[in-house]
């Protein structure tokens, strides 16, 4: 028996008592059996299952759900992003260790003092059909992505580019018919005034914003593609003009929406341009076969600008979501690595000590959002009390692959960012706050029976993990506040609908995966009352602080200002932070050049298969600790 194997009979019984769902029991018993069988497996106990490297330079990687599309501007998810990392290059690319932006198709870039204008200098690179990749290609791609008819779901990622939002939303500018001058926005004179495209909505907007005098005698014209702030200065120079200060543009450019697409192929083949026989790509690899729900194979691209430094000959991306199946394939040596969040919770204790387990902080958090528009949650004291009554350290101990989170921006990703501390776990203070909020008896002590528990519930989307967390938090509230909050699971799409419409009482499970490497991607959620906010909390002052931060050219000062905004958010407590996530995935020790970065996006061109066991990875350091 493996000495590191933690499954002894007593342990196993305890665990069997803990896990309640039938499938979990099956998993745990299977695990025990598997562990018992370990004496006969090929592994020497340091790694999970077989460690025979495949012949040559071929990688087999499980990339998650089936790709929706191979059009980087149409698809939105991580499973596609993992594939684009192989076949489409961006202006900037992701550093394999830190996920910070590094040069990609742009070899360098500069920006003006207030972060509103960025100039990218392109290197000599070619499409897979041999055509050069020019600044015009980027102009075409950005404009295409923003066309309303394409209906790209990620188009909002580009809304900070000058006039991009107006173009995508079909809004209009007000123009003087004689001088052809555009009316400026009275709130921000540097920008044109943007009004709704629909005449009725426009009329009411003009009225409510007192613009009648300003737009009298003007004609309303829609933005043209040329109005969007992306220009080709010359074939190798691309200029982006932003509508506000956006210091994180280089990080933003790693997103799939900004990866250039081949104009010729799209114009020739229409929607079928992504088929293997038509597609033209720009990355280190090019598409060979694509069989949905089975495999997507890419091979080394000879026309890639850095082809000499590409090691792998072929990558097979396998679309799979079932955790147990992925673990089985991995153990049997049929795959060499897989996506994040995949090792099932019941396996963690067994897997974690192994040397091929990839554990590092992730660009993601988990929290409960609070509907602050209804009593009793409209009282900040009540929200604070519920937050302080949850022992987050114990929660993370229970979850095993998370770190406790009291602030909103996840821990361990941005070492330079001075994260403010949220309220600590404090039962006495929590009960005092509730008493203060009016839930007290005649002796002025906190009295749970006075609390309108019927107006509070906790909803989550149906997964085992979410259920376990919800039950844990429920138990905490019961123990510490004497309140039994009902918990309710809701099917995913129904859940999204309820949450977006604030159609819940009390708490709804939430989590955020950052779009780019900057704390702003988390704090920005609350800059609008609508959208992903979902709490009913919105404060103009909060938005102003964020804007002020982004205008600040000095990164350190900018972070300090941004931390003030986060403090303000934590003081208002429209959210109950729970935990920072860990990446939680595995790769075989013979796969080198692949690291647990915070986004779990891998720069495939640096990855290779090491056939000499002496050089295998034994311990992958946690990348973000400096």
């Amino acid at each position: 028996m493996n000495p590191m194997n933690p499954v002894n009979p007593v342990n196993l019984m305890n665990r069997l008592l803990q896990v309640r769902s039938r499938l979990d029991v099956v998993l745990v018993s299977l695990l025990a059996l598997t562990a018992a069988a370990c004496t006969t497996t090929a592994s020497d106990g340091m790694y999970f299952g077989k460690t025979d490297p495949p012949k040559g330079q071929i990688l087999r990687y499980v990339s998650g759900a089936e790709a929706e599309s191979l059009d980087p501007q149409v698809s939105t998810g991580q499973p596609e992003a993992r594939i684009y990392m192989a076949i489409f290059d961006g202006l900037t690319e992701i550093d394999p260790k830190t996920a910070q932006p590094i040069p990609g198709l742009a070899e360098r870039w500069e920006h003006n003092s207030d972060n509103t204008e960025f100039t990218f200098h392109l290197r000599d690179a070619r499409w897979s059909n041999g055509d050069p990749i020019t600044a015009e290609d980027f102009v075409y791609s950005f404009r295409r992505g923003l066309t309303p008819e394409l209906a790209a779901r990620s188009a909002y990622m580009a809304y900070d580019i000058l006039n991009a939002q107006a173009f995508n939303e079909g809004s209009v500018f007000a123009q003087d018919p004689a001088t052809k001058e555009f009316v400026a926005d009275p709130e921000n004179p540097k920008l044109r005034l943007v009004l709704p495209g629909d005449p009725q909505e426009r009329a009411s907007a003009v009225q409510s914003r007192n613009l009648t005098a300003l737009v009298r005698g003007k004609v309303f014209v829609g933005p043209r593609a040329e109005d969007i702030g992306v220009d080709a200065v010359d074939a190798h120079t691309l200029r982006l003009r932003m509508s506000r200060s956006v210091p994180f543009v280089p990080g933003l450019m790693t997103h799939q929406f900004f990866r250039p697409v081949p104009r010729k192929a799209i114009e020739q083949w229409g929607v079928h341009w992504t088929r293997p026989e038509h597609i033209v790509t720009s990355g280190a690899f090019m598409l060979k076969t694509w069989r949905p729900y089975d495999r997507l194979v890419v091979v080394r691209s000879p026309s890639y600008w850095d082809a000499a430094n590409v090691h792998l000959d072929e990558i097979t991306f396998i679309p799979l979501e079932d955790q147990t199946t992925i673990m089985n394939l991995y153990k049997a040596g049929e795959i060499d690595g897989f996506l994040n969040h995949t090792v099932p919770a019941a396996w963690i204790d067994y897997i974690r000590p192994l040397k091929d387990y990839m554990d590092a902080p992730e660009l993601a958090n988990e929290y409960y959002q609070i509907n602050i528009t209804q009593p009793p949650m409209n009282d900040v004291r009540v929200r604070k009390a519920f937050n302080m009554a949850v022992d987050k350290v114990a929660l993370s101990h229970f979850r095993r692959v998370t770190k406790p989170l009291t602030s909103f921006v996840p821990e361990g990703i941005f070492p330079e960012y001075p994260r403010p501390a949220g309220d600590p776990f404090d039962i006495a203070r929590a009960r005092a706050l509730l008493a203060e909020a009016g839930y007290r008896n005649s002796r002025d002590e906190y009295d749970p029976s006075k609390f309108p528990i019927r107006d509070v519930e906790l909803i989550y989307n149906t997964t085992d993990n979410n259920r376990q967390v919800a039950e844990f938090v429920q138990a905490q509230w019961k123990q510490n506040l004497g309140l039994t909050v009902p918990i309710k699971n809701v099917e995913w799409k129904t859940f999204l609908d309820k949450r977006a419409k604030l159609d819940y009482k009390g708490f709804a499970r939430s989590g955020w995966v950052g779009d780019y490497m900057d704390p702003f991607t988390f704090l920005n959620i609350f800059s609008t009352p609508k959208g992903d906010n979902g709490t009913g909390w919105w404060d103009k002052k909060y938005v102003d602080i964020l804007t002020e931060a982004n205008r600040q050219p000095d990164p350190e000062k900018r972070f300090a200002i941004m931390a003030r905004a986060e403090k303000m958010l934590l003081d208002a407590q429209p959210v109950l932070p729970l935990m920072s996530n860990a990446t939680n995935w595995m790769k075989k020790p013979y796969v080198k050049g692949m690291y647990p970065n915070p986004e779990t996006l891998h720069a495939w061109k640096y990855v290779y298969i090491e056939h000499d066991p002496a050089l295998w990875d034994r311990d992958v350091p946690i990348m973000t600790s400096r």
Binding site: L30, T34, T40, G49, A151, I318, L320, L496
Partner: protein, 305 residues
């Protein structure tokens, strides 16, 4: 008999349309839509999407379009898998599900019939008890337990067979086929046994024996035909479900069949794909039931059309 078949086929078309309409209504009732995800869409982008896919048109226009599509047998483009037509998806996924289902049915038939007949002819023998006990096990062991158990033993302990994935007609199929056929095997064995036992006690078998026929020809020529009737009627729906995809097995073994698409299409609210698969499965069920009824005529001399 031709008239019977034609009459049944004429009923099939409206039945499929009713099933499809009900499904369409249910999709409409379910909250959320194919474009909702963790990250909220700005209203303008949602509007662009609704315009692009004609979702802002009145319901009867959309319903009519769906019915017309179904009638033509062209289900349109998938909403989730942009730029892929539902027909192409079905066309790619069907061979996988059909291969798996057909092999599983074949195995179930061979093993089930053999053990059923043996058990019936040697009633109350050790062989009878053993095969019926095994069948009971096969019926009570759900495939989501049996599958992982087989994987554990054959793939993860002995490393003999791959634990999952499609690789054409190869050893990858052994475990999924075994897992899938276990239940059907057990049912067929039990059905054959009870059918045979009943027939063996009937008068015409006594007559056959009295005529002095050998036990072998009594069994094969007379008893088997009658004893198979329950198996035949069970086979129709069983085949239809086996060939059109089996959700759990396809998921455990990561096979790119229809079952996998069906689950995800529902979770993704991918209307054309759901409609396509539902229409396809209902046609398959109806056609296989028809085939069963036709087969009755051959197996049972009492059945006339």
């Amino acid at each position: 008999m031709i008239r019977f078949i034609v009459r049944r086929l004429i009923v099939t078309a409206p039945l499929v349309l009713i099933v499809v309409s009900l499904t369409w209504g249910l999709i409409r009732l379910a909250p959320g839509s194919f474009y909702t995800s963790e990250k909220q869409l700005p209203p303008a982008i949602e509007k662009n999407i609704r315009e692009k896919y004609g979702l802002n048109r009145p319901w009867y226009v959309q319903y009519g379009k769906m019915l017309a599509n179904t009638a033509r047998g062209d289900f349109g483009q998938s909403l989730k898998y942009t730029n892929q037509s539902v027909n192409a998806i079905l066309w790619e996924a069907l061979p996988v599900s059909a291969t798996l289902g057909f092999l599983a049915y074949l195995l179930a038939l061979v093993v089930g019939l053999t053990s059923g007949i043996l058990a019936a002819t040697r009633q109350n023998s050790r062989l009878d008890y053993a095969s019926m006990a095994t069948a009971m096990l096969g019926i009570s062991l759900p495939n989501f337990v049996l599958g992982p158990l087989l994987v554990l033993v054959f793939s993860l302990t002995w490393f003999w067979l791959p634990p999952a994935r499609w690789n054409g007609f190869s050893i990858n199929l052994i475990l999924p086929v075994l897992t899938l056929s276990a239940l059907y095997m057990a049912y067929i064995a039990r059905l054959t046994r009870s059918g045979m036992l009943e027939v063996l006690r009937s008068n015409y078998i006594r007559t056959a024996r009295a005529k002095g026929l050998s036990e072998r020809s009594v069994l094969v020529r007379h008893a088997l035909r009658g004893g198979l009737l329950p198996v035949v009627s069970y086979s129709g729906p069983a085949l239809a479900f086996l060939l059109t995809g089996t959700v759990v097995v396809e998921r455990i073994f990561a096979l790119p069949g229809i079952g996998n698409y069906f689950i995800n299409a529902n979770l993704n609210r991918d209307e054309p794909l759901i409609i396509g698969i539902v229409a396809f499965i209902s046609i398959a069920v109806l056609v296989f039931n028809l085939l069963v009824d036709v087969a009755y005529g051959f197996v049972d001399p009492r059945v006339r059309y």
